[in-house]
């Protein structure tokens, strides 16, 4: 569900010819970059950027891919001193990329919480960070009544009071179901990516 994308993320220490989306063998280049080699660093960032584009394309809305990829590249830059050249590069970078992706989901979830408190419509899902595909898969892991409320709000775009009327539940009950369902989905995502 939320495992690695269909890309090579295997570790390695030897540089070799490979596609741009293959993170293996970047360890020696990153080690050179840590010693100040700008060309090596450029190659590492370029390969990571290409990998991120594909990794994120399956997880977030298309308009958010560049933003999150930039955040992940900035995170790599800020934490470049924490890479240990004796270990494979791929798990180190993938962990950072996943953290930034989940961080963005958390921010999105919190923004939704505020929106729910304001009792505003929860439409505008075109700009949502969570892609419909990922959301649908996550919904299968939470109780049906919570999944239904989230589906109506996040995918169908109904307002909370409309969902309450449609489901015969009180407004507060709908809010609680969406809140609990979102929390469960975040937990599932974090566990799956731990």
């Amino acid at each position: 569900m939320t495992g690695s994308p269909n890309l090579k993320v295997v570790g390695g220490t030897q540089a070799s010819s490979r596609p741009a989306t293959d993170l293996s063998g970047l360890g020696p280049l990153m080690a050179k970059a840590q010693n100040g080699d700008k060309a090596a660093y450029n190659q590492v960032l370029t390969a990571c950027d290409a990998w991120l584009k594909i990794f994120l394309a399956r997880r977030v809305a298309p308009e958010s891919v560049d933003d999150i990829a930039q955040e992940a590249l900035m995170a790599l830059h800020r934490k470049r001193h924490t890479y240990d050249p004796e270990k494979p590069f791929a798990p180190w970078f993938v962990a950072i990329a996943r953290y930034k992706w989940l961080d963005r989901l958390r921010q999105h979830y919190r923004a939704d919480e505020v929106e729910l408190e304001d009792q505003a419509s929860v439409g505008g899902h075109e700009s949502a960070v969570v892609s419909k595909m990922v959301l649908e898969r996550l919904l299968s892991h939470i109780p049906e009544n919570q999944a239904e409320a989230i589906r109506l709000a996040k995918i169908e775009g109904y307002a909370l009071d409309e969902i309450a009327t449609m489901t015969g539940q009180s407004l507060s009950s709908v809010k609680v179901r969406i809140h609990r369902g979102m929390k469960r989905m975040m937990k599932k995502l974090e566990e799956a990516n731990a």
Binding site: R18, D84, I96
Partner: protein, 218 residues
């Protein structure tokens, strides 16, 4: 040699800018950080023992088995959770929850089996609030060097599970504080230790959980 596609979209400028700004970096080494922390704590311990060494000797002489058991339990908790905290500073570190339960459970179980389990004389006689408050506050103050040291290392590390790292740091620092205080504390009753020592660890852990995730620098 490698063949990479040129970066596309808005990230090309970012990559160029980051590459141009690249200069040699000093790699993070957890072994070096552990040595620094050990040095700080050794100084703290030496200073404390210089002040209360007589009391510690008296407590040890009076009840050596429980003194040692208490020190092993608290020192072990501190050491175990410090190692977990350091491990969690690697981005790819596993969540380590099972290790945490195992270390905590084993050492708490050891403490329950070895410390004084006599509950006669009433709650006030066991808890001794006037002394307990001193114990609580002193233990919290003794935990500060460890707390600050681990916080600095957390900021320099790359934890992708900041809440869990904060819990590990809180338990490690809190346990260290009660370990140092416990070296001159004559009370060995499990109720007293659970209330005041446990309270100190709990408060330090709550403070860590509330503060540290916000200080995690990404």
């Amino acid at each position: 040699m490698h063949e990479f596609n040129a970066p596309s979209g808005g990230n090309a400028d970012l990559i160029r800018s980051l590459s141009d700004s690249m200069s040699p970096v000093r790699r993070r080494r957890s072994g070096r950080e552990m040595m620094i922390l050990a040095g700080i704590l050794a100084l703290q311990l030496a200073g404390t023992l210089a002040l209360v060494g007589v009391n510690s000797a008296a407590v040890l002489t009076h009840n050596p088995s429980m003194f040692i058991a208490k020190a092993v339990m608290l020192g072990g908790l501190s050491l175990g959770f410090t190692l977990l905290a350091f491990r969690s500073l690697d981005p790819e570190a596993p969540r380590q929850k099972n290790f945490a339960y195992a270390i905590g459970g084993a050492l708490l179980g050891f403490g329950i089996l070895t410390l004084d389990r006599n509950f006669g004389g009433g709650a006030m006689n066991i808890l001794m609030p006037s002394k307990g408050i001193t114990c609580l506050l002193s233990s919290i103050s003794f935990s500060v060097p460890m707390f600050i040291g681990l916080t600095m290392f957390m900021r320099g590390g790359a934890s992708t599970q900041p809440s869990l790292t904060a819990l590990f740091i809180g338990i490690a620092a809190g346990s260290w504080g009660v370990f140092v205080y416990g070296l001159q504390c004559p009370f060995m009753n499990i109720g007293y230790i659970a209330a005041w020592y446990g309270g100190a660890v709990l408060l330090v852990t709550l403070a860590a959980a509330a503060i540290l995730p916000r200080l995690n620098r990404w």
